[in-house]
Amino acid sequence: MTHSTSASAQDTRPPGPWRMALRSLRRNRSAVFSLGVLVFLAIASLLAPYYARYVAHTDPFVSNVAGSIMLNGQEVDIMQPNDNLLHLGLSPIGPTWHGSYLLGADSQGRDVAARLLYGGRNSLLISFCSAALCLVLAAVVGIAAGFCGGIVDIILSRMMDIMWSVPVYLFAISLSIVTLSDGLHLGPFIIESDNLILPICIIALVYVPYAARPIRGRVMALREAEFVMAARCLGVPRWRIVLQDILPNVTSTLVVLGPLIMAMSLLAESALSFLSIGVQAPAASWGTLIQDGEGLIYTRPMVAIAPGLAIVAVVLALNILGDGLRDALDVRDASHREQ
């Protein structure tokens, strides 16, 4: 904050563009509800260990095929005979709608509800981090390409086009298989194949072109904006223009892209984990949970449906939130509405 503004600042500081956006977002009920859903799921996931210990009374990472639980005063085996005609084979217990095994067990007798919360931790963490990393990379690439133009733009844009031309899942799968086979060796640094940094980086990387292109477009428009022209006319150095005129005006684009990229990252993470090339067993993610449930889809559909619904809920909420942010951040639009 400069001397000038603090000197003349009063108790009733006029609301800045960000505060106005926040106000407008608060009036948007569906966006607020979506944010609530996301916060609830995030907190619930963070509380996974407490749920496992005090509510479910199980360790969701240990196979419990031979165990049994007390249900309505009766002892019930976790693995039960199939209720098909021949009563052949065993199925895990279905949803009990009680504390333990709320959503039933998976094929190894582990509590699906507890694993769902543990999976949420990984899924949300990976999708959030990869979206953040992706936006940072995309901002650097987009601003460099859009502001410098010329040869820098040509090189960066063609690189983005090449990445774009490979289907995103195929790209992510190839990168995952390469790095997962025996970790990633970067000189003296070795990243083990079960490190979450690997899926985070891979997913961030594959979505960079999707975020960089709109940022580049925005920067190109901003570069020709009259206030950038005015700054150049005042003799403001280029780096200062980037930091003070370009970046703050790109931030709204980044904030709007954030939830959308996070939704795409979540889907990509789930897909990779479903294919066993994302989060590695015994760790859980919503993708690995769906894979666990795949074999039980006819007898115990809840094992696959529960994480599926969680993914749907988060992706929907992120998209609605993204739309709400886009409407709220349109400063110019808001000021025009006032006039």
Partner: protein, 337 residues
Amino acid sequence: MKTSGKSAPILDVCDLYKTYRLPRRQELKAVDGVSFSVMPGEVLGIVGESGCGKSTLGRCLLKLTPATSGQVLFEGRDITHLPERTLRPLRQRMQMVFQDSYASLNPRRRIGDLLAEPLKVHPDAQGHKRSSAAIATRLQELMELVSLPTTALARYPHEFSGGQRQRINIARAIALSPQLIVADEPVSALDVSVQAQIINLFADLQKQLGLTYIFIAHDLAVVRQISNRVAVMYLGRIVEIGDADAVLHTPAHPYTAALTAAIPRPVTGLARPVPLQGDVPSPINRPSGCRFHTRCPYMQTRCQEEDPILHPIDDSGHEVACHFPLSPVASATHCNG
């Protein structure tokens, strides 16, 4: 009018071209060989229809857009080939006010920060970095000069009306005490009553600070109010330039005559001249010969073949690019019907 004929021109433009390359080997000549000079303390109005290259010319003058060829001499120094680093100290002495008062202020910064920016970037007269106290004092002075309350410094651009925002833009332009200000249609986006206030502000500041203006507009009434000299542009070239009274009252170019005739006048009952037919031709395929011949009521065969050059028609510095310039009497009758 030769204003202060002894002193050197503050700005000298020689044969300036700005060509945009388009797909399929087409070229758009936005500025097509423009030469003029501006004396210190003078107000040169540049008028023309939209798309005639006025704004591009304005931006080329301050090297915001690189010119394709030609020279712009600011205080005798060619700035067209200076690298930005060398040009930066010179930028303190030449500033610009833009048309869109909203688009020319960064919506995410407070007015105080916007106005302090030039003071932070450039050192003061002694070459020292300005202290924040010095900047604060200067900001108070600036707000006084443009008649805005100092409380405005803590506000954001969207909280102001168009006229107030243009005052802020003017304050930023004069922050470094420049000699030359290029005003690119500074009032055309404003209400008529506000236009008058802003033009008066420009006039007051010129008197107080001894500024030189290049005042770009498409409104002849606006230009007449503030300019000593007027240049009329058509399709990227100056077709008539001279003393404001001479150009606007006894226009020698048929295009200027048509423009002045189009100004609404309070006098009624007089026969009005026929307005110009058609639109400005495309600057991509501009007409051969005189660029105005497609719309000129006095067109002759020579006009289709030979491009007229700017030549003086009297000794007052009134120059016109026309093979058959209107005589003062003829143009007066043409004007009044």
